[in-house]
């Protein structure tokens, strides 16, 4: 992991993909969604985590796709899989506690890692209805760790999301809706929660006690102060470790020559 690429050799999508890939340890069971997360996991599978087990929500268990599926329902998912089945299997396995890590996305995230993929604005009078939850809350409820990959814009990094689609560290206790630590609600099913947010600006993690987000690393070219300005909440930048580790040339080769040669999810950088 030493032959790092120079700044002009990789794009932001490459950086995100490699950062996401490094969140996985070997032998872990990973729940993958469509898009960049899929590339990230398959990259990990071809580098430092050859024994990771991949689960696709639509029903593929321990899949080894030869090329990038376009979605989790894709015929490409189940090539080389241990078992091809259905959603009942995939979600039962998650609820049973097999899943170490899940990759997710969202339109908005708040300081506690709560994520909204349901609507912009008031739920009962929305400015824009989005896709809805999909499996986001389910994976986030049951996996030991989840990693969110997000576009970083100030309007997306908010103090409290307008609708909690997917549970972060401090969530709503019904019927009143007061915020409590998720441990209080999940009981025996409590296994963890969001462990990182990888945005287009930096990598963020969560404080064990308060459940609040802090800045861990800045992507090349971004300062901690700039990133704090890109959040609506008061981002803790006191624990920044430095710059996000950049892609290696080998990782870039795997992404662009092996995994996504047709640039379905990750564009190639035009050089020269």
């Amino acid at each position: 992991m030493s032959d790092y690429a120079k700044a002009e050799e990789f794009g932001l999508a490459d950086l995100l993909c490699c950062a996401a890939s490094r969140e996985v340890a070997d032998n872990e069971i990973v729940f993958a969604g469509t898009g960049l997360p899929m590339v990230a996991i398959m990259l990990a599978q071809k580098t430092h985590a050859p024994n990771l087990k991949l689960i696709f929500e639509a029903g593929t268990l321990d899949g080894r796709p030869p090329e990038i599926p376009t979605s989790v329902g894709d015929a490409r998912c189940e090539m080389g899989a241990s078992r091809s089945s259905g959603l009942s299997d995939a979600f039962s396995i998650a609820q049973r506690g097999y899943v170490d890590l899940g990759y997710l996305g969202g339109a908005e995230v708040d300081v506690y890692g709560n994520v909204n993929t349901t609507c912009i604005g008031e739920y009962l009078n929305p400015e824009l209805r989005l896709t809805g939850s999909g499996g986001n809350p389910d994976i986030n409820s049951f996996a030991k760790r989840t990693v969110f990959i997000m576009v970083h814009e100030k309007r997306r990094f908010v103090e409290n999301v307008s609708y909690i689609t997917s549970p972060g560290w401090r969530v709503k206790k019904w019927p009143g809706g007061e915020l409590v630590h998720r441990r209080e609600l999940y009981g025996a099913a409590y296994r963890g929660g969001p462990s990182a947010v990888i945005s287009t600006a930096g990598v963020f993690r969560f404080d064990d006690q308060s459940g609040r987000m802090f800045l861990d690393t800045c992507h090349p070219g971004k300062t901690a102060e700039e990133i704090r300005e890109m959040c609506q909440f008061d981002l803790d930048i006191s624990r920044v470790k430095g710059e996000t580790e950049v892609p290696t040339r080998e990782e870039l080769r795997i992404i662009h020559e092996v995994l996504d040669p047709h640039e379905i999810f990750i564009p190639k950088i035009k050089q020269g």
Partner: protein
């Protein structure tokens, strides 16, 4: 006996009545019963209640055409070919549709309960989210929770009385009138063989009071019975069958054809407005039947989608996927 379940596409659409509750086979952009969805739009079916483990382009077509009053599910969009369901979005903004949100696992577990004949499912998913906000019980707000076809409550909480495992969510088994399945093979007596991931198809078929199976091909029943261990749905759960090649287009079918990404992208781009939807429907649905629809798509397009029989997908479609 052998032909007793066979009906035509028109007859299949007529099984669905105004006000029926409906569910479908497939997963997001895979194996959706499009030929029948188009026929429902042609027949101007109204007031449908869709109850789906997840939605997709077929949801968007039915919603855009004004066929749907209630959508009860967790997700709608076109995967990488369109970020969200623009038709549903528009109808939500105009208050022309009721949306009841559950999580994906909740919808799956609800169907699993219904398929078992159980009254409800128990889970710990999505605790602490706004899915359980009591203010956001939309069927309740609309006064539709009659305790007959629509459950009295959206969900209830209970503490685990057996092991003290903590807060549990009880979610009602859905009552579904009709499931429309789109699969690779069905036998003359109704046995279904799905190739590839079967998604939530077995639960959907078992849950619904009436199950219609649209297949790429109707095959001799005894052919499927030679390998019963790889069949997906037993004969007696299926009420009607019809043969409808390429019936899932523009969605894909494992081993047969890929998703038509260009078609979905075009639909997503052109149907943000109602006028846009109406124009699209005029071009691709009204005045056509399934064969003339395929004729309009043309051989070259369909050959590009055709799956390689060794890979079960089309390597050509991958290259055009961008």
């Amino acid at each position: 006996m052998s032909d007793s379940k066979r009906i035509t596409l028109q007859q299949a659409a007529e099984v669905v009545k105004n006000g029926s509750s409906l569910t479908f086979s497939g997963f997001t952009i895979w194996r959706r019963p499009f030929a029948l969805v188009f026929e429902l739009i042609r027949q101007q079916r109204r007031n449908l209640h869709l109850i789906e483990v997840n939605g997709g382009p077929h949801t968007e077509f039915l919603v855009g055409a004004g066929c749907v009053d209630i959508w009860e599910s967790c997700w709608v969009g076109h995967e990488l070919y369109g970020k969200y369901g623009a038709n549903l979005s528009r109808k939500v903004a105009n208050r022309e549709i009721i949306v009841e949100d559950y999580s994906h696992a909740e919808m799956m577990f609800r169907f699993a309960a219904a398929a078992q004949g159980a009254a409800y499912a128990v889970t710990q998913t999505s605790l602490g989210t706004d899915i359980h906000n009591p203010e956001y019980d939309m069927l309740g707000r609309a006064g539709l929770r009659d305790g007959k076809r629509i459950a009295k409550h959206k969900y209830l909480f209970a503490d685990d009385p057996f092991y003290g495992a903590g807060s549990q969510v009880l979610i009602p088994a859905p009552k579904v009138d009709i499931a429309v399945m789109c699969v690779q093979q069905v036998g003359e007596e109704g046995t279904v063989r799905v190739n590839g991931q079967y998604y939530s198809d077995p639960e959907a078929a078992r849950t619904a009071d009436i199950t219609i199976v649209m297949a790429e091909e109707i095959v001799p029943e005894e052919y499927l019975r030679r390998n019963a261990d790889i069949n997906t749905i037993p004969s007696f759960e299926v009420d009607y069958i019809l043969e409808c090649p390429f019936g899932a287009h523009p969605t894909g079918m494992f081993g047969r054809y890929d998703v038509d990404g260009a078609f979905l992208k075009d639909f997503y781009a052109r149907t943000r407005t109602q006028e846009g939807f109406d124009d699209f429907a005029k071009a691709w649905i009204h005045g056509l039947d399934h064969i003339s629809y395929l004729e309009k798509l043309g051989w070259p397009r369909m050959l590009g989608l055709k799956a390689n029989t060794a890979l079960n997908y089309s390597p050509r479609a991958t290259k055009g996927g961008k």
